[in-house]
Symmetry: C2
Subunit: 355 residues, 2 copies
């Protein structure tokens, strides 16, 4: 296991003598849609990150990626030989883009290989797993970031500022929701063993995140109910969940997540002197903001969310700064998600377990 | 007790020989803000209704109203001699604009006096009271209407059509809320004995109504939580309530009501192919509609909600047609409201009692 500085320097020496000036090498673990269509293309735009390796269980994908991204045979790992990545100084960061239930294993293996870890959301399928991942990364002295791309997106950042600086007065209530109509019934997202949960784990987490970073508080009490219309397709995971959150200050939030229909993708923040919100709030394709005061717009140019977050994580490593959202942020969401599932199971309001 | 026809003809003869052509006489019971600033001025605009009497416990108000509306001394009743209104053929309709806990008594007394009843919302403070009011009006063969003015408002009617005709596809979820910052701590609305409840009874009922008439369904299951910040001011009644509703078809709704802050006054309907909603949804001052398709606007001229509903109730009497929203509509809301309070009290999801 290497120190943060050690890891940086070891690979840094292979590429550049100027700390902060070089691009960190990222290894993508899992070559599904997100890696293929978002993350790898974004790595062609990043200033501080570049694709240095891929890890896949499908040899044909490795061949295709070698051709497309100019990788060598040695830069293609599989899940069996993944741990050899410890010996590749060109890899600084392991980016975990696997089904949710595999985040825990590969984050810990990456940490043991001395690599920083950038993990897709949800961080894991339980708070217990999150805690083990945090401990492993701390022990290995590597950074652990969770891919909450909206936290770096200009509309969301501006909305956080509106709340923090009370631009529309005190924020009092949030309506938030994210859902879409789930397609292929054979996809891993519908298998509990791989996904750990359904719409809530996959997209509801964005609405939860928004409520947490807009209020600046951790929810104190959760009440949740589930609706399941298609009991075959969603036999293993949640289809639609409504949940209410009460925050310590008295702020409140009502949330929805669904795999059952398109078009719910928003937050609305009700403040004492006005309102603001986003539509298409959580997608990659560009946010649409509004406020109750036309003199205070919520409009920004579209950014590449993936390039942005990878550059910021890379810079934090290069500059030896703390990075957030860290593993603790991922853990906090899992603690709320577990309270939501407990509330559904028990039919009662649930406190959120302390971090 | 008179039949509907008898009542119409008895008073009709006093004013006009043409059924349907004359204005019905309305007696306002309770001369608070709503009667003073909304209902009485609206009765100067109505085509089928006119002010025929007032009932007040404050003699000075009687004097002032005589001067302002040209009423005679005989047209000013008090709560003690109210039942003599049975002998006034100029009064066709008794409009109950009293504190909530008095709706039951005065609706039943009005019915016994042979007068049709138009009752402010909430219809009463319990479902039991609503049932007794319905029975009394049926026994007296008088009509009982509940003042759900939004049901006649063009934006709301258009929104109902959007849902019913699936203009944006199937409606799947609603976010709705209505609240305001409650003022005078001495007002009757904060006294449980008079109001029967707080924000939920007073304004949350509008959001509940919207969810019921937009879905066209009765909620099957309710989950609710309460937040109370000012435990002195709101010692007797609810300050803020969040509630979730599950409808039989699988539709869902998340609602908020509050006496704690201004600006939450909306519904948003999420449909499978688009969205629509209203801001300033429930106020008298004009609605602000929007949809996700600029080619299908939700815009209408402002109407006088009070004049509109009184004319429609009057026409139903004159033309001997059924009127809705009737007492059954008021009862249905109270059944949901009782489930909301039960859910808060028990901390568990509650079924809504059958009508």
């Amino acid at each position: 296991m290497k120190s943060v500085l050690g890891a940086t320097m070891a690979s840094g020496l292979a590429h550049s003598a100027e700390p902060g000036g070089r691009k960190l090498g990222w290894a993508l673990v899992g070559l599904g849609n997100l890696s293929t269509h978002q993350i790898a293309p974004a790595l062609l735009k990043t200033k501080h990150a570049r694709l240095a390796a891929v890890v896949t269980g499908t040899p044909e994908k490795g061949v295709a990626w070698r051709g497309k991204y100019g990788l060598t045979a040695e830069q293609i790992y599989d899940y069996g030989n993944f741990d050899k990545i410890a010996n590749d100084p060109a890899v600084d960061v392991v980016c975990v883009v696997l089904p949710n239930s595999m985040h825990h294993e590969f984050t810990i293996r990456a940490a043991k290989a001395g690599k920083h870890v950038y993990c897709e959301k949800p961080m894991a399928v339980s708070a217990k797993e999150c805690r083990e991942m945090i401990v492993a990364c701390e022990a290995a002295k590597v950074k652990l970031g969770v891919a909450y791309r909206c936290q770096f997106e200009p509309h969301h950042k501006e909305a956080m500022r509106f709340s923090r600086e009370k631009v529309f007065g005190d924020l009092r209530h949030i309506d938030a929701g994210f859902g879409f109509k789930s397609g292929d019934p054979k996809q891993w997202r519908l298998r509990a063993a791989l996904a750990g949960g359904g719409a809530l784990m996959d997209v509801g987490i964005y609405a939860l995140q928004a409520c947490r970073y807009l209020t600046g508080e951790e929810p104190a009490e959760i009440t949740a109910v589930e609706t399941k219309i298609d009991k075959v397709k969603f036999a293993e995971v949640d289809e639609t969940i409504q949940w209410a959150m009460k925050f310590p200050s008295g702020k409140t939030a009502n949330c929805l997540t669904t795999y059952s229909f398109n078009g719910c993708n928003h937050f609305t923040a009700f403040c004492e002197k006005g309102r603001f919100g986003l539509n298409q709030a959580y997608g990659y394709g560009g946010q649409s903001g509004w406020t109750s005061d036309e003199k205070i717009p919520l409009e920004h140019p579209h950014t590449d969310h993936f390039a942005e977050q990878m550059d910021i994580f890379s810079q934090a490593i290069l500059q030896q700064r703390n990075f957030g959202p860290s593993g603790h942020e991922g853990l906090k969401d899992l603690l709320v998600i577990e309270a939501i599932y407990r509330s559904i199971k028990t039919g009662k309001a649930q406190a959120v377990e302390a971090i």
